[in-house]
Structure formats: structure tokens, C-alpha cells
Symmetry: C3
Subunit: 204 residues, 3 copies
């Protein structure tokens, strides 16, 4: 059903998000199980909600590779814990790759289940951001999505890119890599330039 490229990218997304969850767990000083749990929830939370909304069986129930990727990400974090916690840049890149990948796989999965185009972009965004939201709620933090510069907007733009390039029948590898590349570039630019929306308030 899926192309090989889809599978490989998806596992990269799971792996990098697992690292991001495990890293937060380390800084919160959780025990190993709690840390593994947080890594897993971060990695598959978005895809799980997407599948429940689409009323399809959840993707990791019949597929062992996802569980292996979570364990791998968790192991990598434990082994390189000193470097992963202190150095932010490589982690940021991995996290952003995961974001781009999940936007693309989320939109594609939604379209395969015949949702409307706007809903497909929404489901791509949900796939990308919900794991992080759950991670933050479980750790009793204000969800990152409400604070980080244009985090979700980036996903929406990436989803629209995927949709329009798909509409014009551009080659599949271009659509995938273009979506992921666009999300990465937008994230880097918005961090570098400290882009953020003006805050809304009750006064004009």
C-alpha cells in the first residue's frame, strides 16, 4: 500500500520524535519506564489520533518496526545523553525532520481515506504536533504549540505544499522531499528571525 520511501521516512519521524520525548524525560528526571512511555507517546501520539479520527486501526498495532524505532530512539538518547541534552542544534534538526515527515505522511493518509483537502491539511498538522502536545500535557507543561514560533503554521504551509504539488501530479519523490525541505527551511528561518505572530488580546 505504501511506497518504500513512505515507510523509511515515517520511521525516521518516529525515531526523532522518540528522541525528543526521551530528552524531555531526562530533564524531568523520570524513571526508565516513564521516560520510555513519554518517548513512545511523543513518537506515535500524532499518528494515533489521526488514525482514530479517520476511524481506521491504529498504525502501530500491526507493525513492529514502529516499536523498534521508538526503542532505538530511546537507546540513542540514553547512550548520548550528555551530548543530546547539552547540544541543541542537531536535535533541533532531527525534530524538524520529524515534523516535516509527519505532515507529509499525515496528509497522504488522510487523502487515502477520502477526506476533503482542508481536512487533509488539518490531519497532517495533527499528526505532526499532537505527539508533542500530549508529551507536554503529561509533563504538566503549557503545550509548546502555544508558545513556539509558528510551530503549527509551518505544518499547515507544508501540508498545503504537499496538496498542491500532488494536485499537479509532480513526481512523488519531489512532493515528499519538497514538503520536508520546506518545513525545515521555514522552521530555521522563523527561529533565526525570531518570527512570531503578534499576540492577540482583548484590546485593539
Amino acid at each position: 500500500m505504501y511506497s518504500n520511501l513512505f515507510d523509511i521516512l515515517d520511521q525516521i519521524g518516529v525515531l526523532t520524535f522518540s528522541i525528543s520525548g526521551a530528552r524531555l524525560a531526562l530533564s524531568k528526571k523520570l524513571d526508565p519506564f516513564g521516560a520510555l512511555f513519554l518517548a513512545g507517546v511523543t513518537a506515535v501520539g500524532g499518528g494515533t489520533l489521526r488514525d482514530m479520527l479517520l476511524n481506521k486501526p491504529v498504525f502501530w498495532l500491526h507493525d513492529t518496526s514502529t516499536l523498534i524505532s521508538i526503542l532505538l530512539g530511546f537507546g540513542i538518547t540514553l547512550i548520548f545523553r550528555k551530548r543530546i541534552v547539552s547540544i541543541n542544534r542537531p536535535l533541533f534538526i532531527f525534530d524538524t525532520i520529524g515534523l516535516g515527515v509527519f505532515v507529509a505522511t499525515g496528509v497522504k493518509t488522510a487523502l487515502m481515506y477520502n477526506t476533503g483537502p482542508i481536512q487533509a491539511v488539518l490531519l497532517g498538522t495533527i499528526t505532526a504536533v499532537f505527539g508533542g502536545i500530549t508529551r507536554d500535557i503529561l509533563s504538566n507543561e503549557i503545550p509548546l504549540i502555544f508558545r513556539k514560533e509558528m510551530y503549527a503554521t509551518t505544518c499547515i504551509i507544508g501540508g498545503i505544499f504537499y496538496l498542491t504539488t500532488g494536485y499537479f501530479n509532480l513526481p512523488e519523490w519531489f512532493i515528499w522531499l519538497g514538503t520536508i525541505g520546506l518545513v525545515i527551511v521555514l522552521r530555521i528561518v522563523s527561529i533565526k528571525l525570531k518570527l512570531s505572530y503578534p499576540v492577540l488580546s482583548e484590546r485593539d
Copy 2:
């Protein structure tokens, strides 16, 4: 499948709950995306959980009018932000209309999927209150349902009314408007009289 009245009322519910979510976002000073996200979650959270529990496709996936109602509610809040934040009464009425509508549509949807009568009332209540619960969890507040006077009890009574009038085959418009009217009246009475349950505690 649905009567026209059902559709119109449902969109009124989405619209008014979108306003209620956007209004909280303004007072929390979120950026525009965060505010729109909170408006959307408040508006469709209850119906989404209802549909996932019933194991049916989520209602807004194949239907654009819901998305438009969310945007409309969000836009109205932005445009009238000064008045909407300072004046409480009109908002209270809209919010209560939404509550009544969602109780009725929730019970009806559950019955269409052959749940038992008690479960139908529960699903009606979940449809009405879960959007607000999610809104409060995401904003790190204690869910309103635990604090506000008889908020959920009102929904349960409304659901029982819907169920019994349906059992006696009363005309559909009477069932709908009766349920919504009853919820509104009960909310107004319980606010006016400051009705609330005695608090339970470990002592007698």
C-alpha cells in the same frame, strides 16, 4: 440522513462554542494560530469524542460547513473583541444555546447508532461538555465542569427530556426546541439562584 433543522442547530452550536474558545484565547493572549486552534477544539471536541466512542468517522472530516462555522465564530470574536470580552450576558446566552444544541444532537446521534438509553444521555452530555474540558486542559485550567454550577447536570436533564419526548413520539421540532429551551432555562435558573450541589468531602 439528518433533517435540515438538525444541521442548522448543529452549526449554531459550533459557531457559539468557537466564540467561547476564541474568547478564552484572547484573555490568555495566545497568537492567532493558537487562538484559532483553541476555538476549533472547543467547537468540535465534544462531537469528535462522541464519534470516536461510537466508532464512526468523525463528523467534520467530510463536511466543510463545520470548518466555516469555526472560522466565522473566530472572526466574530476578533471583530467584536472589545464587546465580547467585557459584556458577559450575550455570550452566556450563546454558550448555553450551544450546550442545549449539542446535548440534543449528541443524544440523537447515539440513538442512531443503537446505544442504550442511558448511554445516549451520557454521549449527549459528552458532546456538550468535552469541547470545554479539552479547552480547559489545554489552557492548564481546572476544567469548568468541576466548578460551574450544575453544568453537566443540566445536560443530563436535557438529554433525559429528549429521550422521553422521543419515546412518546412527540413532533420533532418540539423535541429539539424543548430540549434546547429546557437547558437554557435550567442554566439561567441555576446561575440566578446560585444553585450548586453541596460539596462532598470525607466527613459527613
Copy 3:
């Protein structure tokens, strides 16, 4: 579909978890509805998420006995509130019975829907712990699972026991009672010996 033993044990789980939710509600001084809501969420939260993940209709939608067990647990808590809040030991035993029961019924349900074995153990654990997680999030507490000694690990070990004894075709009553007994013993031992994992942190 289910054996009678399955049904009886499942209701014991619902009843004991309802007591645990109602007990927390009493100490938080919620009103009766909020308390009943918290009891219900604690009792069926885990099984509900399991069923949504498996893409099957939620178990309590077409079954009244679960609702009765929740009410029964709630009533017992109200009647014996003085004793239940002050005496911890009997409650701990009931709670632990519920944990063991839900691990076993969760694993069995997952296997009936043809998940892989690792996923079945995960779903058993989710069935056992998610009600408590939701209860804690709704009450704005850090989920117990992140703090209590080896809470989830105990479920995982119980799930593996269920799986392996099932693989060797041991008699059903042995599998059920063995799983529940093992979870109870492990919980008692880990509490008595104050077993807990070393905390992970970013330093070695």
C-alpha cells in the same frame, strides 16, 4: 463471546477503579456530579482508549452492567467515606485487583483483534493505567504512573505472564488468576521493599 469468568472479573475491575476515582474526588471536595464523573472516567478510561485504538465500538456503549458497577462503586465510597479515606490498606488491595484484572482483560481483548504480542501487552497496560492517568490529568495532578513505584512495569510483567501461559495452552482459570495474583504480589513486594527504578538524568 466472553467467558463468564471474564465478565465477573471485568466488573470487579470497574467497581474497584470507580471507588478509587470517587475517593480522589472526595479528597478534592468536588460536587456529586464531578465526583461521579471522575469515578466513571477512572473506571472505564483504560478500556475506552483500548477499544478506540482497536477501532472497535467502546465496550460500555451496549452494556448496562458497567454503568451499574460504576454507580455501585460510587455508592460504596459515599456510604463508607470515613473508613475508605482514612484506611489505606483495603483500598490498595482493591485497586491492585483492578489493575491485575484490567491487564488480563486488556491483553485478551487485543489478541482477539489480532494485534502482535508486544502490542497486546501494551494494550493490556494501557487498559490498566489509562483510567488513572485521565483521573490525574483532570484533577491537575502529575500522573501517578510517573511517580508510583513500578506501577506500569508491574502491568507489563503481568501481561507477559498472560501471554506466555496462554501460548503454552495452560487452563484458562490458571492464566486469569495467575496474572491477577502476580500483579498483586508484585505490587505488594515493590511497595514493601520500596522498589523503584533509579531516576534517569542527563548526567551519568
